[in-house]
């Protein structure tokens, strides 16, 4: 037995990390400054690693010459077409697989068989089938976006509580109304989460397809700069790609906030 005569100690501290946006920004800025200082002080050779100022200069001159916009436009167009086509197809098949017995097993068999193929390996095949032009690139992106969209849509529909669907039926709602007002809104969180995956998949495939055979586009530009040992332009291209990635994820965040306010 032990005697006690003390205040009860507080034991529930920690395990509660908080966000400090300023600290995040400060970290990035400090890193950039360190990077620039390192190059200016000669810690590493700028032949192998560009500097923040070098990248900024490259971007400015690319913008001035118009080369930036040509490449950016080519890439964004492919990204938009490929992603939209793949997403629409994926949504349609995902809804069918999620709802209809007739579509479920055949659809799942197809998806399971084709999903694991590394889509980059298909680029040469698609070039043979659809030509070296835009067709092969759009198809590559659409194909890569299609499968994760099917899987996420189906999982989202499976996760809609059956009780809600039965509720709709018990009030005499029609099939179409149940799909539109209960099933799809219920699956929306999963579908939007899938968009985060498919946009980054699309950017990876975009670069790959552009590197294998394209005149314009950021992928082609990066490859060319690499061949010329033009490290400033090469890294400017990489920065552009990460900016595209940031923009799409920001956009999806906005859409999520607008559509999923009820959560």
């Amino acid at each position: 037995m032990s005697e006690h005569d003390a205040p009860v100690p507080f034991r529930a501290g920690g395990f509660l990390p908080r966000e400090h946006p300023l600290a995040g920004a400060a970290t990035l800025i400090a890193l950039l400054l360190l990077w620039q200082a390192g190059a200016s002080l000669g810690w590493f050779s700028t032949a192998f690693l560009s500097t923040p100022i070098g990248i900024a200069r490259a971007l400015i001159s690319l913008a001035a010459s118009g080369e930036l916009w040509v490449n950016l436009a080519a890439s964004l167009q492919r990204l938009a077409i490929g992603w939209v086509v793949g997403t629409l197809g994926g949504l349609a098949v995902g809804v069918a697989v999620g709802l209809f017995t007739l579509a479920r097993s055949p659809g799942m068999a197809l998806v399971s068989a084709l999903f694991p193929i590394p889509k980059i390996a298909l680029v040469p095949l698609f070039i043979i089938w659809f030509g070296i032009g835009e067709g092969s690139k759009d198809v590559t992106l659409a194909f890569g976006v299609f499968f994760p969209t099917v899987i996420n849509t189906m999982a989202g529909i499976d996760a809609v509580p059956r009780a809600l669907i039965r509720m709709g039926q018990s009030f005499g709602l029609g099939r179409w109304a149940i799909l539109r007002k209960i099933v799809l809104p219920g699956a929306l969180p999963a579908i939007l989460a899938g968009f985060r995956i498919t946009t980054s998949t699309a950017i990876i495939l975009l670069v790959a397809a552009e590197m294998i055979g394209a005149q314009h586009g950021i992928g082609a530009f990066v490859l060319e700069a690499g061949n010329l040992y033009d490290i400033d332009n090469l890294m400017a291209g990489i920065v552009l790609l990460s900016v595209i990635g940031l923009c799409t994820s920001w956009l999806i965040g906005r859409v999520e906030r607008a559509l999923l306010g009820w959560r």
Binding site: L164, F171, L173, A177, P185
Partner: protein, 262 residues
């Protein structure tokens, strides 16, 4: 009652149902006269929810039939209407939107729809919460939405599966009073499942006690006093509660004895 009120009676004839090898309902015969409340009580798992699903056409019985007979009012949009134990509200629709759901796509004009939604919100005391999301509401308020949604279609029959069991005791008592008033006023036919024997005595014209599985009708008690004149403390209601409790307890005791013999 207005001349245009529904007067629909519900009948169960020889209803039999099994899930696989598990016989859940065995020869259920019931009559719910128009405008009366039938309360179903019985041990957990005896098939009350199953029976309610069959009565509302949400489950096909293996045998027997549920029938409805009588007149349905012209402005009734959904004759057999459920109030769910778990509320079953769409989380992505506001309170008003959840009520609107069951009025959209009907013959009501947009203006009539808005009016009905406003009426139902007023009736259930939810007018201030029309634009709130379900997650922002307490359990009691969520079930009010469920009730408002059910009443919005002007049902002929209300099918309620333990509508108050997810609520705390105080909220349940308050909402029960309101529910009794609404039922008495609306003159709908009601089938009400509950484990709460005082709810049964306060609401039921008939109280049907089901036996443990396979569910059979063990006993039917009648209370003819109008709902509006009943108080939880009335001696006759208390004695009915005791009688119900004795019936259910005997059943449980029998089950225990059977288990000992196994």
């Amino acid at each position: 009652m207005t001349p245009d009120a529904s007067a629909l009676r519900l009948e169960a004839r020889g209803i039999h149902h099994a899930f696989g090898d598990l016989v859940v309902l065995d020869g259920i015969d019931l009559d719910v006269p128009a405008g009366e409340v039938l309360v179903l009580v019985g041990p957990s798992g005896c098939g009350k929810s199953t029976l309610l699903s069959i009565l509302g056409g949400m489950l096909k019985p293996d045998g027997g039939q549920a029938r409805m007979r009588g007149a349905v009012a012209a402005d009734c949009l959904n004759a057999l209407t459920y109030v769910f134990q778990d509320f079953s509200l769409l989380p992505w629709r506001s309170v008003a939107g959840n009520i609107s759901l069951v009025l959209e796509g009907t013959r009501l004009s947009a203006a009539e729809r808005q009016r009905r939604i406003a009426d139902m919100l007023a009736l259930t005391g939810l007018s201030a919460f029309a634009d709130a999301w379900p997650r922002q509401l307490s359990g009691g308020m969520r079930q009010r939405v469920g009730i408002a949604r059910a009443l919005a279609v002007n049902p002929a029959v209300l099918l309620m599966d333990e509508p108050l069991s997810a609520l705390d005791a105080q909220t349940r008592a308050l909402l029960l009073d309101e529910l009794a008033a609404i039922i008495a006023r609306a003159g709908v036919t009601v089938v009400y499942v509950t484990h709460n024997l005082s709810e049964a005595a306060l609401l039921g014209h008939q109280i049907v006690v089901l036996s443990r599985r396979p569910g059979r009708v063990r006993e039917i008690l009648r209370i003819d006093r109008p709902l509006g004149e009943r108080r939880a403390s009335d001696p006759d209601l208390l004695s009915i509660e005791e009688r119900l409790w004795a019936l259910i307890r005997d059943d449980a005791a029998e089950a225990d004895r059977e288990i000992e013999h196994v």
